[in-house]
Symmetry: C2
Subunit: 320 residues, 2 copies
């Protein structure tokens, strides 16, 4: 049996046909144009799904179901996008709308959760029961996999691990309204902000040379490159970033004691340059030093994780 | 069917006969004397179990099994106390030792986890699937209940919620070797420390009057009493304590999105004087302000939670 995975984003909707081994057999995408009434977005999504089945040469009877990974708080039981800021959706009955066009079972979950599921089953965490997946991007996305299944929380807003409070006194202001959230210290955005702040005081840093003197050109890769090249300011920033990343991971280990922590997203592109010192830093700060603890690994599936994880939903085996 | 619950502590071993509704029908206790070889402690524990069955007028055939709540990292699968600091035990094969004396199924879990289970099923969280239980005492104990079952982690050291890192820069030193752990800010010990620190600068505070001028006499109840009486220093300390407690709870909500958070332990004796401002503070800082989130409640079962939760283990229905 094959399954359709849909990765619904603020900009693009990607959909793929996925087999039971997590392989994408065919995929395609369209623009979301989320400023339209949601019924139009849903109609386009349905067309995309039907078109990939046809283009790939399958019939409806080959497809066991459809899974959708959506940003925001997703209520699979009722088929509703409860709240999705970057789609501008609030209590949108996406499943019943799609079922006007498609007569197949449709399952829904948060996009970060399904991507984490895909990594934990077919990516970096194969054979693992308890995993936490982190995406180091604009913020920090989280997914909690317990007993091989997604734990999404009671009100569909669990696994917001970027909003663990890591600085109760004098914390940096977060977009969520709180201060001291972990993603203000350990997301790609945080790393970039550390760079921008540092070059104000150290305009001679290689960081600024790599952007031709333009602080707005600083990104995570430039700080990584300058640190690899031994620029002292960049090394200090990167070390500090790894410390903050490690401390949040310590919290996650102390709370969830997972078997594996999977690191994805932009900053994870640094590979071993990030992973090795991170593993060392976690080791220094681990609570039960005599016991085993979570293995920390880099994500493997990249952007495909969203489609693969969404398709896995459609097997109806992966939700707690 | 009846079950035996054993609450193994560093000072005392308490055991009770518990029915399927979580009622303790009979209980008794002995001193642990944990400095002895563990075989002697296990022999005494077995005698205690056999004696309560006899004293309460039951026979072995009335008992479905035995559950043990032990401090530390507990491996139920192998029947081993992996590590229990306050017993001085390391890789102790407790189950096989007890089975020399008792021919009944024996289950084991961490004591905080079983107490949280009892609260979530028969105490403050009846009918709840996803709950977090917190014990505000010397440290902060945690229990994670998912789908009505204990989630203890991969290496049996999950739910150490007192060691969520809440202050990455300039955090208070913790007994675990790290700095900035939540229990340095929101345990009973933390509240007492805030009091001791404050009276150094404000010796005229009512806090010190209530201890006849002896800072070592400060406890959580005295700070609560002084705050209730309107002592300004005590009010400030209590407010600050509630802020720190709320911020950790915000992290827990953002990570676990539970249905209920159950607060027990010494500080929870303050009742509504703690609970009401805590609920207000959490409301101020919650991430998804338009959605429902965890109800925060006081624990109901007190010290009996340990025996009841341990007995529940013996039904073999409550472990993930």
């Amino acid at each position: 049996m094959l399954y359709i995975g849909v990765d619904l984003g603020g900009t693009k909707i990607a959909a793929g046909i996925v087999d039971e081994n997590g392989q994408i057999l065919f995929k395609d995408s369209i623009f979301t144009k989320s400023e339209r009434p949601f019924e139009q977005v849903a109609a386009d999504m349905a067309s995309l799904i039907l078109s990939i089945i046809q283009k790939a040469g399958y019939s409806m009877s080959d497809i066991g179901g459809i899974g959708i990974g959506s940003p925001g708080a997703i209520d699979n039981e009722h088929g509703v996008v409860v709240f999705a800021n970057n789609l501008g959706w609030h209590n949108v009955k996406l499943r019943s709308e799609l079922q006007k066009y498609i007569n197949l079972p449709i399952y829904m979950e948060n996009d970060a959760n399904v991507a984490g599921l895909a990594e934990s089953v077919f990516g970096a965490g194969q054979g693992i029961k308890n995993a936490i997946a982190l995406t180091l991007g604009t913020g920090i996305g989280g997914a909690i996999i317990i007993n091989g299944k997604i734990y999404g929380g009671t009100h569909h807003v669990g696994a917001e691990l970027g909003h663990l409070i890591v600085q109760v006194d004098g914390g940096r202001q977060c977009t969520c309204g709180n201060s001291g959230c972990w993603e203000r210290y350990a997301s790609a955005t945080a790393l970039i902000n550390f760079g921008k702040e540092a070059v104000l005081e150290h305009p001679d840093s290689m960081i600024l040379k790599l952007t031709n003197g333009n602080p707005d050109g600083i990104n995570a890769k430039i700080i990584e490159d300058a640190a690899r090249a031994g620029d002292q300011i960049a090394v200090e920033i990167f070390d500090r970033y790894i410390y903050y990343l490690a401390m949040g991971i310590i919290s996650i280990i102390n709370a969830f004691d997972p078997e594996v922590i999977i690191i994805g997203g932009g900053v994870s592109g640094a590979g071993d340059f990030l992973l090795k010192p991170l593993i060392e830093k976690v080791k220094e700060h681990i609570f039960y030093k005599e016991l085993d603890y979570a293995d920390i690994r880099l994500a493997k599936l990249g952007n495909d994780a969203g489609i693969i994880g969404a398709a896995m939903l459609a097997t109806n085996k992966y939700l707690i």
